[in-house]
Symmetry: C2
Subunit: 314 residues, 2 copies
Amino acid sequence: MLTALAGGVGAARFLHGLVAVVPPGDVTAIVNTGDDDEFHGLWVCPDLDSVTYRLAGAHNPETGWGLAGETFHTMGALGRYGVPTWFNLGDLDLATHLYRTERRNQGALLSEVTAEIVTAWGIQSRLLPMSDDRVATRITVRSDGTGAPTEELAMQEWFVQRRCEPPVVSVRFEAADAARPAPGVLEALETAETIVVCPSNPVISIGPILAVPGIRDVLAARRDRVVAVSPIIAGRPVRGPADRLMGPLGIEVSCVGVAHEYRELCSALVIDATDAARAPEVEALGVRAIIADTVMRDAGIAAALARHTLAAVT
Amino acid sequence: MLTALAGGVGAARFLHGLVAVVPPGDVTAIVNTGDDDEFHGLWVCPDLDSVTYRLAGAHNPETGWGLAGETFHTMGALGRYGVPTWFNLGDLDLATHLYRTERRNQGALLSEVTAEIVTAWGIQSRLLPMSDDRVATRITVRSDGTGAPTEELAMQEWFVQRRCEPPVVSVRFEAADAARPAPGVLEALETAETIVVCPSNPVISIGPILAVPGIRDVLAARRDRVVAVSPIIAGRPVRGPADRLMGPLGIEVSCVGVAHEYRELCSALVIDATDAARAPEVEALGVRAIIADTVMRDAGIAAALARHTLAAVT
């Protein structure tokens, strides 16, 4: 059995490669929910959905997130009512949010609804939200200078509405201290043969998962079975704003910075061939460096990356 | 000032004719909400929306309800999750339900949200829900014989899901006794120069409005200013299931049956030219019969009908 910590698109691509090389039913992904938010009264879980749609083969291949063949008619029509529509939800995608929201309003836990959604998409792997409790990633940024020196934004406000532009000062995971891992999360980590930290943003994708009490401890205790994949290649994230978060938080934007961040939790780090020269620095942190092609341009590369990753701690 | 009692499509067509012959800002429509129901966690008000979309000129001209150019992508995608999708909500229409539901969850009254929606569509007339309190039309039907002899259905279950097929035994308006007219409703009736009962289903469109305490009394007191338009022509409803409701409830399916039903509330009834021979029977009930072309095949006919209707009590 394999257990992965997963954020959004990068993790989705990696997991798609993983289920090509191991039985999909052997895989459990523990997915970040710190990005979740409510839009138009609907509960939206961007990372859970990115992973679900990718594993179902229903994702938009252009963007990596959202659904193939998506339209945006409802959001276009919502504009008439003067509500903010900067978080663009597709018509097909809306069905998932409507279903999830109604089930939660009926009293179902997020983990229960997630299992239902995963089943509806015919996915053999198990997806678990990191917690059924709300944990909200909040990003403090420097203001534009007209008012208070800083302001705190919800993750999607910073990421989507403000296009990652406001300079980051700090990040916190609201209510993480009181959150409990979702049912099955700790067991999946405790019993996994291998634990993979997917190539996701270490600060706002993996960070919230590790902030849920209990999860970090299991990884630390099972460090010899944990392998991470660096989402940073040649000093830049493959996609997303990791660099705009890592730098201001004092984490070097490199595979060495990732190794430093994870060094107490993983015994091996897969780094890109481009970064081979930095392997000694990774290893100096006590983390074995595994060199592979980590740019998942297609499913074959993703599968090969998964194979290399698993081999690192087997 | 003119005040109308309105159901769905028939009323929408009539009101569209009305605002062609009087200043739209002089018109208040009090709209049935007994058909309202929740689907996928969204609050749907079919009659309010039919009137809104028609007055905005945004309706689907084929069906008379819903929006022109509508698509059904979200509902198609919802089917995957195994939820009932017999009440088909379009993608454009969903925006209205999302907005309404979120505003109500924020604490706004239905009458407040309705005013916002009407304004957003640029409508000059005022639309008022009959009540801000929930009144639910329930239809008891004969069962198919396998279980209990009767069962009670929500209006949309009978109308849409069961296609008006189960024979009607009785109709009730749940919680009507405790409902209060929405703000402005009684005033609009008390101060109107003319009150029009639109050509809507007398049982389940006008019936719920009259069941809200206070409304029937104002009409009875102002009977000489009230004119109704018969939705029944030559013994058949122009559209919808009025015949399947009136017959079982002992109301003759004819303009005479409509006159009988409304005789204490209106002093005049507009009947179709086809029914001219029945005018004496209408008048025998103490209701003046006004003969006009009541089949609103186009906007011109609807406007002429509105003119005839207003003239009846002016």
